[in-house]
Symmetry: C2
């Protein structure tokens, strides 16, 4: 698996990953009905540095990195990661997160923070903990899960 900067030529591959995850609405606080254009405008927004994970010439994951806040908060990075459904369980998210931690540190960020980890996304919570993130906040019922109803979200953080 290699991880490289995304280009506009990756747009179709990125949408093929982002689209189903948005539609499911179980892990990201983003509109389930976003069009391809809406989703790509967000994922590839000018504030995001975007990467893709590639194996055998296929894009199997993508992530973005941005500053979590501006001004006095600009030293903390934030990322969003998505893995292609048929590549889940192959270490793609782990590889992307490790890559992002290194890249964020190289860019001078001092920490990384996830603002809205859905507590029922157990795979993600376990993975982030394994990669050194602490749960530093729990927001009661901050996410409306399409199946489970209102569930907590977590703020997760690690220093770089």
């Amino acid at each position: 698996m290699t991880i490289r900067a995304a280009t506009l030529a990756d747009a179709d591959a990125i949408w093929s990953i982002v689209g189903p995850i948005l539609r499911a609405g179980e892990t990201y606080a983003l509109p389930r009905d976003w069009s391809r254009s809406d989703a790509l405008s967000y994922w590839l927004s000018p504030d995001h540095e975007v990467f893709v994970a590639e194996a055998q010439g296929l894009v199997i994951g993508t992530y973005f990195l941005q500053a979590n806040q501006r001004g006095g908060g600009a030293h903390v990075a934030n990322c969003g990661y998505m893995t292609a459904p048929d590549s889940v369980g192959r270490g793609v998210a782990t590889a992307m997160c490790r890559h992002s931690l290194g890249h964020a540190a190289a860019r001078g960020f001092r920490a990384m923070q996830f603002n809205c980890v859905v507590s029922t996304n157990e795979r993600a919570v376990k993975l982030w903990r394994h990669l050194g993130f602490d749960i530093v906040g729990t927001i009661p019922q901050a996410f409306e899960h399409p199946v489970l109803g209102f569930v907590d979200t977590l703020v997760m953080h690690r220093t770089l």
Copy 2:
């Protein structure tokens, strides 16, 4: 004191409040060097519903209300409040926060969340607690205060 929806005619008054608070850089994770245009584009952004507090015909405070997240997180409101420096201590923030809680509930939001309360902003923390907010997260050293250096930020939350 009355609280009403802001209009474009309030732009000068809003900038006279927002500008010095941005320049000080002690309470908001926003760029200290933003121009009037940058600041007003943010404060009056299409996603923000903006109000002003007025007394004797003078605007002495302003706040915005928005959804804190999209999609499954769109039932939680978020606000930012700023009081004119020479009106601090007169209950302006209290009045604006109470107004925002009522307005958010009327709009159907189920909770309100502040993502980045600077822990050294003791007046604000005390006020939000008094108004029913709980500290549900503490992010270590997430804000670089121009005088105090890296300080914690708080996530504060209350149901509506």
